[in-house]
Symmetry: D2
Subunit: 382 residues, 4 copies
């Protein structure tokens, strides 16, 4: 597969995720963590324009000089930008403008990739594709949030990634204590935060073969889990009180029945399916209630070859920290991972929203412990 | 003109104001005071459906039972509603949905108006038309804010209401002290807040024949008006510091030149045109700097027949308070005016954005003293 | 009475109000509107030092050059100051320091007043004494708030101003419409906001001879007054919801009985006494519920000679606005009144906490409509 | 040393720390993290009353039933409490009341300890003493903050713990990679968060023999450290912008010279002394600027026997997380450590404010990464 083929496959996938959106759906930002879909489509395009075409493509003319201000996300090195909470206040560029921007950049990329390119630029391109794949996953989260927080609860369509949210058989797998190696090894694409590969000492542990189900989680609720402060971290308890949280995101009791909004619309709660859209706070409280705990990211990685994973990102107990010998790249791309290494928790695995070819057992996803609009779930450890 | 003709003329005007919007422009709410244009189009429709068709039209079926939740503005009597800050978070109903809603209600209204209707329903209808005209004026404010706060500063079109923003000749008119009558008199439409007509005693006063111009206001800025706390109310000074305000809304210094965003795009500041988008705080500070003051609403009303007015709403010194004998209507329509009679200032006159047939010399417009996204200006008194 | 005798009488009264405070009570600021008692004692002293001794007393040495920063309240002309919310964060100057400061300034004032002084300085002195009397009233409010919001609800002492909170006999007095004169007339001390005396036209009106009692107000509560949005201004309703307000300040239901904190401690609600610590919002909602209204400040002033007043400040419907011909003094003293003339409501009369010789029927007190820690009450009009 | 002797020594030390406070200093709470000294004195007393005397001492009568509400800190199991931000709003109980409370509880403890007590109660007592020692350290932080944020900058006294803030000689110590054991081992007092002792794998590392000095930190400032976003975590950069932070806490430039507030008053910056009152964010940015990093808590523990430590708590890169096999005690005492194990960073060592007999090389102190009012410093690793 040529670089251009890879590039156009990834680019086409972003568009296909959005294929059932109305124009209005592309624009709104109901909470700060959600970005408007048109922003994702523009921002991923801006990445290629800014880091590849402008510095490396001969005589490239930027599509619109103002777009850097609009589509820069958090790269301080690249200059001023629309503040994050304002992304949903922008009606312009329109959806059509953004699609034209994509077409313009794609055409320039095709021309650019027709010639030989240097190894470092090729690496940048691969990074850009992985970056766009991360936004593809975010697109699913954000589309679900935009529709699922609309009082009309519109379905996105009956064929969607949530249909794959099934679970596996019950059981436990046991692992022996000792020195293990973790971190990325190989010569394929990987993020800087997966390095260095290094030794860790792990105690005896057991991992559940399955994710916690909606039914099990409902027992926790019924047993008063959201009212017993002893189960919660102090910050979790504050969060829960301030936000009046009494169930996972997208759960509703309507006429005495538990329902859940999925991309297919409002449905009866499926007791067998793995519980999803769970914050770390909730995952940890559930584990506490069970008398168990969450795995560390290293336990998970060591066990990964024996697990079925990939329906939901799995919260770990591990904080998102640099590995031994970690160092940031110079310039804007150094802002990719390192500057987020505080106050976040690592999730491992992948989810039904993760694009094909975008998962590894050394992949370190990370979110703040209160967030839950992503496809996250719980695997227990003991 | 039949009721139906009046109705369809007003309804058509709302749509025509929006005719140059992109779909995306209909959706956003950059600040709480601005509502998405599609919300205005839906809300004014909801008014007719809720107060006329549902209670009075035989066998009327609401277009969508959920729309009450979406399009109710502030009528506590009519039930729960989307909180005001969330209006810009709703991608659905789409713009097309809203236009279908309008068509559906208009068709039902046409059928309803084909028969004789009772006097009280006819009054409600006239109220609904005046209500829609108020939203037509808001549409201009909101469209300007949505485009004028976009970093791309798109023009709305070269033909627009701001082209009429011209001024009149300089001079002063003098009035003698004595007892005058103010308030609405007659049998045409008027709001409850214009009653009762009553006597007031007014001291000698003089009113300027013209509105303060951009050029005069620029002198105030150049003279350090925004840095001298002695000119400002205490709350105004806090507002100015917290919001880093140093000029009227839509004014920018770009490359050493004063520019102003209008619906025609970014333009050089026109020194002759009346200064607009001014808060009460700024109007009062300017008057203080001039050694003059703003008129009271009664001075303005008494003088109105000798003034040229209608380019900009004119701030008065008067607080928005009930007239002697004021009483609220029962039920939801009683929420129209009375409940806002605290902490707001009266503006008199009309603006270039005011629809034809929607101005009177007894009309009492009102806003909080810090607001300035409306077409407001300054007339001095002494 | 010599100026020095007047001065020392007023100064002594401030100290006597605080005589039963513990040192700790002098320090705290439980909400922004309350100032620590030691701050009041220091600030009133600073007023004499700053406006009289420093500019006019030969060779006067300020007690401590840093105190201007600590004890300036809101005079922008006099330089930087501790922000208002920080007053309760200052343990130093200590209470003993503040009493030494008072003694130092009093001694300098005694020496200064031993000689002839100019008329304008004498006027400043009288203003300073009236200023200190205003803070004497605030001291009562703030002491009550500090003790009444302590979970131990300590009494301040059985002898206190609240013992005088009795009511008068029921009845109505009627007034004829016509032109009246309002505003201060005479050659005694008065504030700039009481001028100019001017004519107003007033319609027929009636005033209650008594203030609304706790018993009557309890009926309003029992009848669901705090749950019926139709009775409230829109901003009042928001205020009530955000602050979970369901009764006047200092009212509690304990074991099924209504109690009220007074300076004598927690007591059974006295049904005959006038309801106090009422916001304008509550006063207006109560009047609405009664089918009546609050008087305007001019109605009150015209009627004042026929009323018994002085137990509680009485809310009026009038906004705090300048009288015709009002002008601010130059410099810092011009900040005394004029800059507050927006978003506040006028109260008329006086309260049990008002010092002797500090009330007039033209006195215009003013507070924001949501405030209620002062001794405020309700007189109905119709 | 008998239990009573231990008890009375610890109790006396708390009082001696406060010996130079004015009564007013005991009351205030200038920021949420600081508690009023009288609250510390009451809260530590409440701990003994609540967990020892009430459940275990025959016929003990609580000093005041309301004090549980006032002096409970964060024990949800023990009932409602004054919210943390309100501690500085309480003038009562007075300082004298609190000292009487201490005397009353101490007398009851003396009587209680005169008889044989059970092992589990003895353990509780030892926990209570360690708890009070933690508050002794906090008393130093809070006293410094209270005086150091007063605009008069009063000294606390020339003899104080900051005089010991000296540094050691420069150099590096190197450690070999391998499996090490960490965590508490022994039969003395320790906290639950120091268990279980367990094996960890550590890579080769080197630790500086000295703490970073004020002089070195000043170079970082001079080199633009606070202006270069590439050195900071994303959250750190936001924190720095929102709070306008440009230097460590207590640093001021006055007349062109760098000064620092210490408990001895405002002094010229001592370039040799270790930099203190540093947040994790600043420590990490400084290390980044140096091209180095902070140690992990396990590196620190393994190296501890070869380090001189105890002047300042040393930030580590480690997040505060449970050790393998960690479990919380049942009931209120289970709230001691576990519920804080998210979003905090571990500090190791001890500081000049740490009481004698209250440090261990397995001791895990923890704070949020933005806090810096404690005696914290930086040791570099590479």
């Amino acid at each position: 597969m040529s670089l251009w083929e890879k590039y156009s496959a990834v680019r086409a996938h972003s568009v296909s995720i959005c294929s059932k959106l109305q124009k209005e759906d592309y624009v709104v930002q109901p909470v700060v963590d959600v970005s408007p879909p048109k922003w994702h489509l523009g921002h991923t395009t801006w990445f290629f324009e800014t880091f590849i075409l402008i510095p490396h493509a001969f005589a490239y003319q930027p599509f619109n000089a103002e777009y850097n201000y609009v589509f820069n996300s958090y790269y301080e090195n690249i200059g001023a930008r629309v503040i994050r909470t304002d992304r949903g206040n922008l009606s312009r560029p329109t959806v059509d403008d953004v699609f034209q921007y994509r077409a313009y950049v794609d055409e320039a990329m095709e021309k650019f990739l027709a010639c030989e390119i240097k190894a470092d630029v090729s690496e940048l391109l691969i990074l850009g594709l992985n970056h766009e794949q991360q936004h593809q996953e975010l697109l699913w989260y954000d589309i679900k949030y935009i529709l699922g927080h609309n009082p009309l609860f519109p379905a996105y369509g009956l064929e969607n990634v949530e249909n794959e949210l099934t679970n596996t058989a019950d059981g436990w797998i046991h692992f022996k204590e000792g020195v293990y190696e973790v971190g990325y090894q190989g010569d394929q694409f990987h993020f800087d935060n997966e390095l260095n590969r290094h030794k860790v000492y792990i105690q005896n542990f057991s991992l559940s073969t399955r994710l916690v189900s909606n039914g099990e989680y409902l027992e926790f609720i019924t047993d008063g889990g959201y009212e017993d402060f002893n189960l919660w971290h102090a910050e979790a308890w504050d969060w829960l009180k301030v936000n009046s949280i009494t169930a996972p995101l997208y759960w509703y009791t309507i006429d005495g029945e538990w329902k859940r909004y999925s991309l297919s619309g409002m449905e009866l709660l499926n007791m067998e399916a793995p519980v999803s859209h769970i914050s770390y706070y909730e995952a940890a409280a559930f584990a506490q209630w069970k008398g168990m705990r969450l795995p560390t990211e290293f336990e998970w990685e060591v066990a990964s070859s024996q697990l079925k994973w990939g329906k939901l990102w799995e919260w770990t107990e591990s904080a998102y920290l640099p590995y031994p010998g970690f160092s940031k790249a110079a310039g804007a791309l150094g802002e990719y991972n390192g500057k987020f290494m505080v106050n976040q928790k690592v999730l491992r695995g992948a989810s039904v929203a993760t694009p094909a070819n975008h998962s590894r057992n050394t992949y370190r996803n990370f979110f703040h412990p209160n967030l839950r609009w992503m496809f996250s779930g719980i695997r227990l450890s003991k």
